[in-house]
C-alpha cells in the first residue's frame, strides 16, 4: 500500500513541478532509473516468492543506482561513456527480463 502511495506521490510531484534535470546529472538519471527498475522487478519477484525483505530491497535499490551511476561516470572519464552505459543497460535489461520471466513462470506456470 505504502509503495503505491509513494509511487503516486512521486509521479504527482514530478508532473506538478516539472523540474529540469541539472546538467551534471543528465547522463546518470536514465541509467539510475533503469537500475532502480531492476531493483523493483527483483523485489516483485521476491514478493511473489514470499521472501521479500524491506532491508534487502532498500540496500539493493540504493546500491544499484549508485553503482550504475558510478559506472557511467567512470566510463565518461575513460572516454567510453556511451559504450559502458550501453553495457550497463544491457546487463540491467537482461536481469529485468530474467526476473520478469521468473514472475511469469510463477503466476502462469508457463
Amino acid at each position: 500500500m505504502i509503495p503505491v502511495i509513494g509511487l503516486v506521490i512521486g509521479v504527482g510531484v514530478g508532473l506538478w513541478m516539472q523540474p529540469t534535470v541539472p546538467l551534471s546529472l543528465q547522463p546518470y538519471l536514465p541509467i539510475a532509473i533503469v537500475a532502480a527498475l531492476d531493483a523493483v522487478v527483483g523485489a516483485l519477484r521476491a514478493l511473489g516468492e514470499k521472501r521479500f525483505d524491506d532491508r534487502v530491497f532498500v540496500v539493493s535499490f540504493i546500491s544499484n543506482v549508485v553503482i550504475a551511476a558510478a559506472m557511467v561516470f567512470l566510463g565518461d572519464q575513460l572516454g567510453v561513456g556511451s559504450q559502458l552505459s550501453t553495457g550497463v543497460i544491457v546487463v540491467l535489461g537482461i536481469r529485468i527480463f530474467a526476473n520478469a520471466a521468473a514472475i511469469r513462470r510463477r503466476i502462469f506456470h508457463a
Partner: protein, 239 residues
Amino acid sequence: MPDVKGPLARLRRWSTPTTPHLAVGVLIGLLGFGITVQVGQDEETDYSSVRGVELVELLKSIDAANERLAGQIDDLTATRNDLQNSTQRSAEAEQQARKRAEQLAILAGSAGASGPGVVVTIRDPEKAVSAGQLLDAIEELRDAGAEAIVINGTARVVAQTYFLDDEGSIRVGGREIKRPFVIEAIGDPDTMAEAVRFRGGLIDRIANVGGTATVTEKKKLTITALADVKSPEYAQPTS
C-alpha cells in the same frame, strides 16, 4: 517476518507503516519522480546527453542544411534584385513615356504650356491682313523655333490648323479671330523677335499693307487654349 494467516492479517501487514515500509515507499516514489522528470526532459531538445559521434553527425547534417539554405537565400536575393531592377526599369520607362506624352501633348495642342516667348500684336484698321499673311507670320515664328502658338488667346495653332478668310474676319482652325491679332508664341524670345523684325520680314510686310505690328519679348507666357484634337480617321500608325 510475521506469519501470514489470512487476507486480514496480510492487509494489516501491508497497511501498518513501519520504517522499512516507509523507506520502500520513499524509494518507489523517488523512482516515479525520476521517471516522470526524465520523460518530461526528453520532450525538450537537449544535446547534453548526446554522445560525441552523434553530435558530429548532427553537426554535419546541420551544416549541409545551412549550406542549402544559404544557397536558397542567394537565389532568392538574386531574384528579388532582378525584380527590383525590372520594376525600376519599368518605372523609368513609364516616366519617359509620360514625359514624351507631355511633349507630344504640347505639340498636338492637347495640353497647356508655359515658358518664355514673344507676343506679336498686329493691328490693321483697314482689314488688309489676310489669312495668308497671318499664316506667313505663323510660319515665320515656327521657323524661328516656336513650340506652342496661340492666336488671341483662343485659337491654338497646331499642325492641322488651317487659316481661312471669312467675310472680313479670319478663321483659324474653325474659330473666328477678331482684330487686332495677338499671336503668343513660346520659344526662344530673341530668335523669334529677330525673325519678326528683320528687314523685309513680318513687320515690314504688315506695314506695307497699312497695318502695324509690334513684338514684345516675355520672360514667361502661359498658353491655356487647347486645340480640338481629332483622332485620325484614315491614317493608321505603321510600325
